[in-house]
Homo-oligomer: 345 residues x 2
Amino acid sequence: MSTIVDVANLARVSTATVSRVINTPDQVSPATRDKVLKAMETCQYRYNALAKGFATQKTRIIGVVVPSITNPVFAESTRGIQDVLSACGYHTILGNTDYTYAREAETLQVFRQMQVEGIIISTTDLKGEALAALNREDFPFVLTYSTVRSGPLSCVGVDNFAGGYRATAHLTANGHTRIAMLAGAFSFSDKSRHRWYGYRKCLRDNKLSYDAALVLQSDYTLEGGMAGLDRLMALDHPPTAVFCSNDYLALGIMEKARHLSLSIPRDLSLVGFDDIPMVGFLTPGLDTIHQPAYDMGQESARVLVSRLKDGPGRPVHKLLPTQLIKRGSVQPPTGTPREIPCNHN
Amino acid sequence: MSTIVDVANLARVSTATVSRVINTPDQVSPATRDKVLKAMETCQYRYNALAKGFATQKTRIIGVVVPSITNPVFAESTRGIQDVLSACGYHTILGNTDYTYAREAETLQVFRQMQVEGIIISTTDLKGEALAALNREDFPFVLTYSTVRSGPLSCVGVDNFAGGYRATAHLTANGHTRIAMLAGAFSFSDKSRHRWYGYRKCLRDNKLSYDAALVLQSDYTLEGGMAGLDRLMALDHPPTAVFCSNDYLALGIMEKARHLSLSIPRDLSLVGFDDIPMVGFLTPGLDTIHQPAYDMGQESARVLVSRLKDGPGRPVHKLLPTQLIKRGSVQPPTGTPREIPCNHN
DNA sequence: TTGTACGCGTTATCAC
DNA sequence: GTGATAACGCGTACAA
């Protein structure tokens, strides 16, 4: 593999000139420029960005950490991130943690060793040492999909509390009184926890008692959803509606409901969270809380880029709006009046 | 940021010793080792993998190029790739091309400039200069999702011809005679082209005439699927069945069919390709050709890793089996006998 | 406009 | 077991 030295020798110029031809072509006379370009051609010279990164301490690489590569919602936000970053001349490198803190810490370590210039992360442990360390060192990073509305960490996400509230309110407005929540385990998802807070608050505002038996924590998998429904339907007083803390869980429930010959929404109403593309195709379509994933990705990238440009400043907290999408997976419990006005937004 | 030089000074040893503590701890006496580790601690030393890559000309980074990050089938295969690569001590960096050759060439260039050690790519242009260049230089790379069964390029994929044949045979076996194909544009998808070859061959074997008006090329998007169905139903003799060259297109068709009040499978039978997770949740479920995406990813990574280990050898061509999954989106055209035995496998 | 010389953090090759 | 030092490819003062 040839280097600028080879090119320089061939063109009978110095390496500095070759470097200038690459980086600031106008600073070199057309004659020598052509000479150098020709030389590059003949040696099949290939630029070494690694060496540049090494020399300048700037790699133009941003690390993106997501908990799951299979959940389409993360594909969307990642697309948003990439679109903005590549427009700003940055490259993206993606790491996935499968919702485990160990892999998150490891990924973070690898990224830093690779000298990424910044990190965008959907974390599984907001209070973890890994993030604390980044923050201590003033390393540029931003949280996505989070609900943090204050504190030292920059964060772009949605109001998960409000989303959880809205989802539950949709069910209470339809006359449901036994409303379960199938949540991603709070241990790895503060988002899920905030949605649960919203759920509880909404129950309270509607004078519905909170029944801990109706709240299940689960993996974010189809199997988790399926197992969850099994447990819920085995209760003495099974719920008439379930709020799932993401669409994946809701899919698991729908699948399991089919096995149990439960009809949705007749026997069970269902609300999800995320609005991944496919839930609009189901029959019935899934009522869900839409997250603007692509926009959130874009915004996260923008926040990171300006942090990179302007240096450390006060942390940014942006919560994007969510939206309830009604498609037909919710109806009043059998034998209940149709729709009750909802004044909790 | 402290370096091994700082550590060496602090521990009163040479940089070589520090390096040994990092890479081959047994080659250094326990006493000095501890001394060095302590020094690392106190200067908050962080290893610089970039510098190592620069010094050794080995980055342990593999570039993965996919045409779409949103299509779940690529998420699956990427997961397979990552699982194998990380087990072999490689890091993965993901690039996405949105099915455009320009972005593919650019991504390839960036990856090479970053000094990736190998590339796994689902290409949009098999005959393109970008791949040819890689091959000329003996750069280690493998194609995925491809159908190439010979030639100089290593390739792990599925038999798209057989898959296309099988999908079509499923329709002819059900008595369909006007079978359309909605294909990803051949210009960017040789997979789609091979599926089309299978489609044509199957028609011929069944003595069905080939009608070019029934074959549409499209983007791999929902909108492409929707527009496609519009055009097909506007024909003088609309088809009674459609083979879609991926599930995404089939989803678009299902959505559009709903708008047109066409019932699937009563008014229109449908077969897809890929078997992305969600199509099992639809009503009716989509009949489709299952690709073992995760396995294919794993296998691609294995092929690349052994190429990396053993140096250039003869190219590998592995075609994994596909499988027809029946879920209910196909039935005989109205007023036709039920199932005709199929002897084309 | 062009050239010289050094630094970036690590590994590898010798010596000792 | 340990130390000194030359690579690795590029950017960049600074000098010419």
